[in-house]
């Protein structure tokens, strides 16, 4: 299944928060400059009020407009994007699924923990996906997925993912065959591992 091109840039929520706070602080300064001119009209306060204050309003408007545009793009965008460093756990075995993940860059390892023993199930690369089975089955994740290298993933929320499956039939077929293939490979690996352990 081909991935859509990147349409949004993920911003740290703290950046958005501080941008909004900064815009409001600029507005506070504008009000104070106005009060300064109102109570003490002089060349200086006039300059601050008539030149500096409008410039601050433009800055505040740009900050607010930027956040509004970002929110709009986020709302209308199909995917969210995230970066993970090597070793980061992307999803945890036993947790409920919220997203389907499509690898855009890097590699991840899928591991399953049974009776305190961790088994590597597979390594997934760019173009492959994970996390969707829990969305379809509405069951917890059967395995943990960890970043093997630095990974960038496109994340599709559960509701959007299920909508996509319902309305985009080719996507449904592609995904199901891909899940089948992965399941077959994993089953074969598990069988091989079991045979090896019984021989030992």
């Amino acid at each position: 299944m081909s991935l859509p091109s990147v349409r949004t840039i993920e911003l740290d929520p703290r950046i958005i928060r501080w941008t909004l706070i900064s815009a409001q602080v600029l507005a506070l300064i504008v009000y104070l400059l106005g009060a300064g001119f109102l109570f003490r009209s002089s060349g200086g306060t006039l300059f601050l009020f008539s030149v500096v204050a409008p410039a601050l309003i433009v800055l505040a408007a740009l900050a607010l407009g930027g956040v509004a545009l970002y929110r709009y793009l986020r709302r209308t965008s199909l995917f969210a994007f995230a970066l993970f460093e090597p070793g980061d756990v992307i999803l945890q075995q036993g947790d409920h699924g919220d997203f389907a993940y499509f690898i855009q860059q890097g590699e991840v390892e899928v591991v399953r923990r049974e009776k305190e023993v961790e088994t590597l199930i597979s390594v997934l690369k760019k173009g492959q996906h994970f996390g969707e089975t829990a969305l379809i089955s509405n069951e917890p994740h059967q395995s943990t997925v960890r970043a093997k290298t630095r990974v960038r993933v496109a994340m599709l929320g559960k509701r959007k993912f299920l909508h996509m499956l319902r309305f985009v039939h080719p996507a449904h077929g592609d995904l199901m065959s891909s899940i089948n293939q992965q399941a077959t490979e994993q089953a074969a690996k598990r069988a091989k591992a079991a045979a090896r352990s019984s021989r030992d």
């Binding site: 706070i21 815009a23 409001q24 506070l28 001119f37 109102l38 006039l46 008539s50 505040a60």
Partner: protein
């Protein structure tokens, strides 16, 4: 208390000695501006206190837009009307003490024989005396004075002005004639010379600077 503050605003700002000298536009705009400032401050502070920079839902966005964009734009619009009124006043010109105080002091000095003092102390010009003489006729004159005023304020606060101050260009006859031309007394006094004056062959200052200089300055020789 709030009402008392609002009532006293124009007087506080302009230090006008008599209530009848307060411009009604200034009085109304000052009160309106004060209300806008109070409302704006309340909206922004409440938004900061309540949401702390988070944009969650329509109300938070409403407060953000109202407090950060809508009210400040309204407030600068109203403030511009007020600024255009106040920028003409003598106290505002005199607020640049280092450069303008000697000129304003001379103008207000009843013993001075400068043209500025004669016009001011006799109330030949009723109000905004600096502005009336130093701004050319019409809208373009006002725009020109604003443009030059911004440069002057910048030079003043960056201390890049040079003393003694120099006019950017020779004082224009039209700035005298806009009031005097056609007046009975002026026509009688300039019967022989008015054709030359209108033709630009003789300037007002050529004759008047001898007996009545524009300003008589004391104590402004060089930069402080």
């Amino acid at each position: 208390m709030g009402a008392a503050v609002l009532r006293s605003l124009p007087a506080e700002a302009l230090a006008q000695p008599h209530v009848f000298q307060q411009d009604p536009v200034d009085r109304l705009m000052a009160r309106f501006l004060a209300v806008l400032i109070l409302v704006g401050l309340a909206v922004v502070l409440w938004s900061l206190f309540r949401y702390r920079g988070r944009d969650v839902g329509a109300i938070s966005w409403g407060l953000l837009l109202g407090g950060t964009i809508v009210l400040p734009v309204m407030f600068t619009g109203v403030g511009t009307i007020l600024a255009l009124e106040r920028v003409r006043t003598v106290p505002l010109c005199g607020s640049c003490h280092l450069t303008m105080k000697p000129y304003v002091d001379d103008m207000m000095n009843p013993k001075s024989n400068s043209l500025a003092a004669i016009h001011y102390t006799n109330r030949y010009i009723a109000e905004n005396q600096c502005y009336e003489c130093h701004t050319s006729y019409g809208m373009l004159g006002t725009l020109e004075s604003k443009e030059q005023g911004i440069v002057d304020v910048y030079k003043y606060y960056t201390r890049t002005f040079q003393l003694p101050l120099q006019l950017r260009h020779p004082y224009r006859d039209q700035d005298c004639l806009k009031c005097h031309a056609g007046a009975k007394k002026w026509i009688a006094a300039h019967e022989d010379s008015q054709e030359k004056i209108f033709a630009g062959k003789v300037s007002c200052m050529q004759c008047h600077v001898e007996t009545n200089p524009a300003h008589t300055l004391i104590g402004q020789e060089s930069n402080p």
